[in-house]
């Protein structure tokens, strides 16, 4: 759970697509053969993926590593625009390069005994590896997983296989409780007495979770998203306002201590807040 010094040096890895499938309408899973990243990545870190070359779009796209299996890394992605559409068309055997692993991980303190993971939609992507790793270390894991509809409950099987408790919420009530995932957080904070909360999802949702954790006096880690150009801390396109100044989501984040985040200035720069 503590940072691996080997991971400190970032580099480029050429990765072969092993598998690329649609999980549900608009959500895909791509598996890359990426031995170095697979070895180095910590839960919550991301890769900066070059999806297409010689195309009209040139910038890389950041994606969290959802799960690692041996030399393979898994990415769950939502098809939103030109980049993720191109990604959804990538065939097995195709080679892409990625910078990574990048960013701070969840870096959950070693003395934690019970963790509550709260995910909204694709926010579940960076929490998969964390749930696995925590439970492997004997940490009791509770998960609150929300999505617009049952089919979009990303990582459901993974969480159900490793967590002590999984509470599912859907906006349309097709699976689990009807309503937002934030509605179950208070009850879980009381019932499971977690000593840490880890949240990721639409910014409004993540903020609500952080406020609830703070009110309950439970430390909270939150993963925030920003548009990213360089991914390595050079361009300042990804800043997040914190109590100690402006931080770069790509290298000082994407995971922050919730109490450090100055939410007032965290606004429309999050797409999950728009959609």
């Amino acid at each position: 759970m503590t940072p691996d010094p080997q991971a400190a040096r970032t580099s480029l890895e050429r990765m072969r697509v092993v598998k690329n499938v649609q999980l549900t309408e608009g959500v895909g899973l791509v598996v890359f053969d990426a031995p170095r990243i697979a070895r180095q990545v910590r839960p919550g870190q991301f890769i900066h993926l070059r999806i297409a070359r010689d195309a009209a779009f040139i910038l890389r796209r950041p994606f969290s590593v959802h799960r690692v299996r041996g030399d393979l890394i898994e990415i769950v992605y939502q098809v939103l625009g030109v980049g993720t559409r191109a990604l959804s068309l990538a065939a097995p055997g195709e080679v892409m390069d990625a910078i990574g692993p990048l960013g701070t991980g969840w870096d959950v303190p070693d003395d934690v005994t019970h963790a509550l993971l709260v995910a909204g939609g694709l926010g579940a992507a960076p929490l998969g590896m964390l749930a696995e790793e925590l439970s492997a270390h004997g940490v009791a894991v509770s998960v609150a997983l929300g999505a617009p509809t049952g089919e979009r409950l990303v990582g459901r099987e993974l969480f159900e296989s490793v967590a002590r408790r999984v509470v599912l919420c859907t906006d349309d009530g097709t699976v689990g409780r009807a309503g937002f995932v934030t509605a179950v957080v208070d009850a879980l904070l009381v019932a499971d007495r977690p000593d840490i909360v880890c949240a990721c999802g639409p910014e409004a949702m993540a903020r609500t979770v952080c406020e609830k954790a703070s009110a309950a006096g439970v430390p909270c880690r939150v993963s925030l998203e920003r548009l990213m150009a360089c991914g390595v801390g050079a361009c300042l396109s990804c800043v997040v306002s914190t109590r100690t100044g402006q931080k770069r989501a790509c290298i000082d984040g994407p995971v922050f201590w919730a109490d450090d985040v100055v939410w007032e200035s965290v606004d429309a720069s999050c797409w999950r807040g728009q959609g």
Binding site: S11, L12, S237, C238, V239, Q246, S269
Partner: protein, 325 residues
């Protein structure tokens, strides 16, 4: 003949050494490839990917007197073959810059060119004076695309008068080589370049980003929080190349060319158009090792064509027989 000699060299296993050094006014750089301000951090961010000692220079992000918070987000928007940015020159101020970024760069074996920003002439002068006291600074690059607070926010670089005023004041305040970075958002960039030459600039660099915008058709809002921003990347290369060519043919001081350089061939084009050196910006985001690949590519371009010195490319464009030059 050149081709034949090249084949013989390859056959005998002897490869010609290409002299990669270039002169940019008073500066001698070991390579014509430098970084474009604001796209390379302080260099430290790319140290895992790039051998900094192989760069002609590291050009830092813009540095002002006080810390500037920069603009609200979203600060970038990708557009066809390029990107818009409105970072807003976020920087920690010159003292903090000297303590952290410059201190680190001073330990690296690479010339440091500091990009200087200001909202007033006095601020530019103060930053330039402060940096002149630092032995690790090889040159200053004056970013005159900053909004001029005294003139209602219009960029200094958009009028000859304001550009000349700030360059004159900084020239008087520093003994360091002075490069003035030109804004392309003007009617005649070579007119500004000539004014900079007259004020004692040692070189000019161009182009800074082109003003542009983009609108989200779902929300109907501009995709940048500040509505407009600077366009960079391959989309601007033809415009940048034209401007470099125009300026290089009208001034006597060296020109550092940039704007959408992604490959060695792009760099060759800028040098043929008259640039002594080239800066790589947005390409770093696409490939963090872009500067190294461009350096290697330039060297092999010259070797394959039997060009002994990369500097020989500068201004070597062959005029069209029917065209005007």
């Amino acid at each position: 003949m050149g081709v034949r000699r090249c084949i013989v060299l390859a056959w005998t296993g002897v490869s010609m050494d290409v002299d990669m050094t270039v002169e940019v006014g008073p500066l001698t750089l070991r390579s014509p490839v430098v970084t474009a301000s604001g796209t390379f951090g302080s260099g430290r961010e790319y140290a895992d990917f790039v051998d900094l000692t192989r760069l002609g220079a590291v050009v830092t992000k813009g540095v002002s007197w006080d810390a500037w918070p920069g603009n609200p987000g979203p600060r970038i928007a990708e557009t066809a073959s390029g990107m818009l940015n409105s970072i807003g020159l976020q920087n920690p101020g010159v003292e903090a810059f000297i303590e952290s970024d410059l201190a680190w760069l001073a330990t690296q074996d690479v010339p440091v060119i500091v990009n200087v920003a200001g909202h007033t002439v006095a601020e530019y002068v103060a930053v330039a004076e402060r940096l002149s006291a630092e032995s690790s600074v090889a040159a200053l690059e004056l970013n005159i695309s900053c909004p001029n607070v005294d003139e209602g926010g219009l960029a200094f670089g958009t009028t000859c008068k304001a550009a000349a005023e700030v360059t004159r004041a900084v020239r008087a305040a520093t003994g360091l080589p002075l490069i003035v970075k030109l804004s392309p958002n003007v009617t005649d960039v070579s007119e500004i370049a000539r004014a900079m030459e007259a004020e004692g600039a040692d070189a000019v660099s161009l182009i800074n980003t082109l003003l542009g915008m983009s609108i989200d058709t779902v929300t109907w809002r501009p995709r940048l929080a500040r509505t407009v921003g600077g366009l960079s990347g391959p989309a601007i290369k033809p415009v940048a190349l034209r401007m470099v060519w125009q300026v290089a043919s009208r001034v006597g001081i060296p020109v550092i060319g940039m704007g959408g350089i992604m490959s060695a061939e792009d760099a060759v084009e800028f040098m043929l158009a008259g640039a002594c050196a080239v800066a790589v910006g947005t390409a770093n985001f696409v490939d963090p090792a872009a500067t190294m690949k461009i350096t290697d590519g330039l060297e092999s371009y010259c070797r394959q064509r039997d060009i002994p010195r990369v500097a020989d490319l500068t201004g070597a464009i062959v005029a069209q027989r029917t065209g005007e030059r």
